[in-house]
């Protein structure tokens, strides 16, 4: 097939040729020779080329032909200045890539709505109270967080759930769910550690999720005696069930109990929290905790003092959140075990929009992500400034060319379009590469994000919307930075630009470069901010990683076991734990065997008030229920008194070891003191050195109480004399000998466990760090581009100076100074900017309190100054190497 515009061209030739020849025929008939006739015909006809051109202007394909020309010409021009082109493309790719990646992250964390019908009807239920709800809540499971002076909690009692669900009937549907737990699931001989979330039978109906295969739960699955069924996510079905098309109806062994697979969830459903890593769902009544006869959860079902389930609601169409709130509030109050002691302690219902999923991830990642968004915007601004700078530099180079074209009859519109096409070309190449950069960054973020066991499964993928955003940014960059130089050029009065020649650029160029200088200034100032942020955050991470834990971090191995789930009860369970302690302690390479109810450094834990007997106000404290060897295994020195004995622990004696800071709070010598913890009286027998409990960040008072050997699950902490992973093989074998049906869950060294609590900080530090480096590179490129071009334009002037006696050193220092002056001005501007931003970060609680360490600022400034020096040095050297004779001849 021939291109229509090519055909048009031949047709034009034929048409005009026909006319001329027919005219010539007529003249020939009048008696002229053929040659003469043709000449006269051409004269009568007029300038063929001009006419052709005019005809082409009328062609429908004209714009396309011209665009083709523009692209070809633009490509040639880009290749003529490869360094500028490459710098511009790299800048665009990095800037756009970084922005897209962060946008994708922000989308995944903050903006994506749940892929469910009418997500705006979904509501998350919380309650708030100023103080502790004494007499209303004794045990709880869930999360709470401070918000503007009140505590917000997401846990409710079963009674509360029943009351509110009944009250809301007809206006809204209430569903319950619980926090996810880890289970071992085995299918066709393959065992995996998976995440299980217990939900109420109406949970999926409330969400309106569709099954991919089989069926989801219904209210009837809540019935006592209902067959054991399980629902899996599409991901689990693909990865763990081998995408078995006949999976529904088969059974999964979960914690050694058989559940029939009722259905597989729709592919798009990834849970109710952004990043939800849940693999399996069972009804609350069939969850492993509920099946243990006297477990805390089981007892909670009929105890209004134990608040253990989380609630969400789907409002019927037309029911507002306020309306629902008003309906539920009395039902909620009716479920309380006792009247609140004071108005301050009265729980108030708080309903929150859950269209984006539950707020847990947003609370954890929201602020850092917003900060990252802010930082990446700055990176984008710097990139844009760079592009503008580079394109401007090229436009100035090409002023003469443009003037020539204008004087040869090129219309302003056409000229603008030429420049626009070139920048569009640049933007397209940069944009395509930006998508690649975004994909790379996305992968980096996914690997840095907390994953697996305690983590989340967040798909940070550039979805079509993020891609569209990228395209928009690329286009905008092209428009802004392509058209500005074009507009400037179009305004150029042809004659002076032509007359200017190549020789007299000197002083004239100064004013002309003003916008470029401003851009570099602005870049360097933002650079100071970004590099400071990078140093601050990476510094904070390494500070936190290396922070004193108060215990021995090396040579420790952690894992969980749940003997209760495979049938160990009461005395048999106690004996099992005793054997375990002895068996593991006898292993070569194992120094001591600690058991604890809560895993240290897990980021959560068990908290309660420790109250001196006779006083009313207690010390909010982390509680460790431990065996006698635990304090030694953790490596916390006892500073006063003694640790508990095996005898005390096994007999359940009420003794406690408290941490130093708690001892200080009690004031007097704590040994022999009696304290109350959830109603029980303990005698303080020892004081342990201050040690971190749930994470490295917050020091907290800790009370060590004897472990109740009847607990169905436990965390084992081994202090080893050999590297912990070397000991693991032996430990696993020993555990298999004890009971081969007992899986070891979450096996980590203490260092790994600690680093898991810092994953958020790590992600953040990594991204900030890479933005800092990016800013540094971009600033250097901007400065380099600017200085190369000013010096290139001033080559003749430099030649004259040198001919008049300036030494190479003079030229070198002159150019260096000119560049560095600019950089220094930018640095000076950047300092208050960085200070202000750091202050803001502290206010937003992204950074810890306290003044910013000034060395960070000094380091940032030095890094930028060094980069600036390097960027300016190359053009300065080039300028000083100018051969005066050559330069003058050139002029």
């Amino acid at each position: 097939m021939r291109w229509p515009w090519k055909r048009e061209e031949t047709e034009l030739d034929m048409e005009l040729g026909y006319h001329v020849e027919t005219l010539a025929d007529a003249f020939e008939k009048q008696g002229m020779s053929r040659t003469e006739a043709m000449r006269k015909a051409r004269k009568e006809f007029g300038g063929v080329d001009t006419i052709k051109d005019q005809c082409r202007d009328e062609s429908r394909w004209n714009w396309l032909a011209q665009a083709g020309q523009d692209v070809r010409f633009g490509w040639r021009m880009m290749r003529k200045t490869p360094s500028i082109t490459l710098a511009a493309i790299a800048t665009l790719a990095l800037g756009i890539g970084a922005t897209t990646a962060i946008l994708a992250l922000a989308d995944a964390v903050l903006w994506r709505t749940l892929p469910l019908p009418a997500p705006e009807q979904l509501t998350e239920l919380f309650w708030t109270a100023k103080g502790r709800a004494d007499g209303l809540v004794r045990g709880s499971s869930g999360s709470n967080f401070p918000d503007n002076g009140v505590q917000v909690a997401d846990y409710f009692s079963f009674q509360g759930y029943r009351n509110m669900r009944e009250r809301a009937a007809g206006k809204a549907q209430l569903a319950a769910h619980m926090g996810d737990t880890q289970v071992s699931a085995s299918f066709a001989g393959q065992v995996s550690v998976s995440k299980l979330r217990p939900v109420s039978g109406n949970f999926f109906q409330t969400l309106q999720v569709q099954p991919f295969a089989g069926r989801l739960f219904t209210g009837r699955d809540d019935d006592a005696g209902a067959p054991f069924v399980i629902v899996t996510t599409h991901r689990f079905w693909e990865n763990q069930l081998g995408a078995d098309p006949a999976a529904v109806g088969k059974s999964i062994l979960m914690n050694n109990r058989a559940y029939t697979i009722a259905g597989v969830l729709a592919r798009g459903f990834t849970g109710i929290v952004p990043g939800d890593a849940t693999d399996l769902y069972v009804t609350i009544w069939q969850s492993p905790e509920m099946l243990i006869a006297d477990s805390f959860y089981r007892k909670a079902v009929n105890n209004p003092l134990n608040w253990v389930i989380q609630l969400m609601a789907r409002r019927n169409a037309g029911v507002s959140q306020t309306e629902l709130d008003a309906m539920l509030t009395p039902a909620f109050a009716a479920s309380w075990a006792a009247p609140p002691k004071s108005p301050e302690q009265t729980p108030r219902l708080r309903l929150q929009d859950a269209s984006h999923g539950l707020g847990a991830l947003r609370r954890r990642f929201g602020d850092p992500v917003w900060t990252l968004l802010g930082l990446v915007t700055l990176v984008l601004l710097i990139s844009c400034a760079n592009i503008a700078n580079l394109l401007l530099a090229r436009a100035v180079e090409r002023e003469k060319e443009a003037a020539l074209r204008v004087s040869l009859g090129c219309g302003n519109g056409r000229l603008m379009r030429q420049f626009f096409t070139e920048s569009l070309l640049l933007a397209m190449i940069g944009g395509v590469m930006g998508v690649g950069v975004a994909a790379l960054l996305g992968r980096l973020m996914s690997t840095l994000l907390p994953r697996g066991a305690d983590g989340l499964t967040l798909t940070v993928e550039s979805d079509p919307r993020a891609l569209l955003g990228t395209a928009a940014v690329a286009l905008l960059a092209a428009l802004l930075f392509g058209l500005y130089p074009a507009w400037r050029t179009a305004r150029v009065d042809a004659s002076p630009a032509l007359k200017e020649g190549s020789g007299s650029a000197g002083t004239m160029s100064r004013s002309r470069w003003a916008p470029a200088k401003l851009l570099v200034l602005f870049q360097v100032a933002l650079g100071v901010l970004l590099v400071t942020a990078a140093i601050l955050y990476t510094g904070r991470l390494s500070y936190m990683v290396g922070k004193e834990a108060g215990f021995e971090r090396g040579h420790a191995l952690l894992f969980d076991i749940r003997p209760g789930e495979i049938g160990y009860r009461d005395e048999r369970l106690r004996q099992f734990y005793f054997t375990l302690e002895e068996r593991l302690a006898s292993l070569a390479g194992v120094e001591s065997v600690g058991l604890a109810r809560t895993r240290p450094m897990r980021g959560g834990g068990y908290w309660d008030d420790v109250t001196k007997v006779g006083e009313t106000k207690g010390v909010g404290s982390a509680i460790h229920h431990i065996n006698p060897a635990f304090i030694g295994a953790l490596g916390v020195p006892i500073v006063a008194g003694r640790s508990m004995t095996v005898q005390e622990a096994r007999s359940g004696a009420k003794v406690a070891v408290i941490s130093e800071d708690m001892a200080q709070k009690f004031g007097e010598s704590p040994l022999g003191l009696h304290v109350k913890v959830s109603g029980d009286d303990y005698e303080v027998i020892g004081v342990a050195r201050q040690a971190r409990y749930s994470d490295l960040e917050r020091p907290t008072p800790v009370a060590y109480l004897p472990f109740d050997y009847k607990r169905d699950s436990v965390t084992v902490l081994l202090r080893t004399t050999v590297p912990p992973l070397t000991a693991y093989g032996m430990v696993r074998n020993a555990m298999r000998d004890l009971d081969r049906d007992l899986p070891l869950v979450d096996v980590f060294t203490m260092e790994q466990q600690i680093s898991k609590t810092l994953q958020r900080e790590r992600l953040f530090a990594w991204l900030c760090g890479s933005f800092g480096v990016l800013a540094l590179v971009l600033c250097a490129v901007g400065l380099y581009g600017l200085m190369s071009h000013t010096t290139a334009r001033r080559t003749p002037e430099i030649g004259i100076r040198m001919a008049l006696g300036a030494s190479r050193g003079d030229v070198l220092s002159q150019v260096l100074w000119e560049g560095l002056r600019l950089a220094v001005a930018g640095l000076v501007l950047g300092v208050p900017l960085a200070l202000y931003a750091a202050d803001f970060a502290v206010k937003q609680r992204v950074l810890p309190e306290g003044p910013m360490p000034y060395w960070t600022l000094v380091a940032a400034i030095s890094a930028l100054a060094a980069a600036a020096f390097m960027a300016v040095l190359a053009p300065a050297m080039r300028a000083s190497a100018v051969d005066p004779m050559q330069a003058l001849r050139q002029g």
Partner: protein, 108 residues
Amino acid sequence: MAKKSDLLQGTLDLLVLKTLAQGQMHGYAIAQRILLTSRQVLEVQQGSLYPALHRLERKRLVTSEWREGDSGRMAKVYSLTKAGARQLKEELDEWSRYTNAIQWVLEA
């Protein structure tokens, strides 16, 4: 030869439309016709006809097709479209109003 007049700006399109109203013809014929009917007064540089024809074609006031011409060569012949005929009528009205107005002023 009589003194020739330059064509008034913008009247070429009108002349082409009017000429084509008499039937389908190719560029050469249009040029000859204009020359003939204007009694050789109007000087149309023959080539300048073509941009006008292409412009009218782009505005879909005329259409064209390729036909074998008198001498066996392929010629592109133009004909008026309905829109072209309407346009011609409008422009003729406009023209007569314009010339009338000029006439009134000159004869006042």
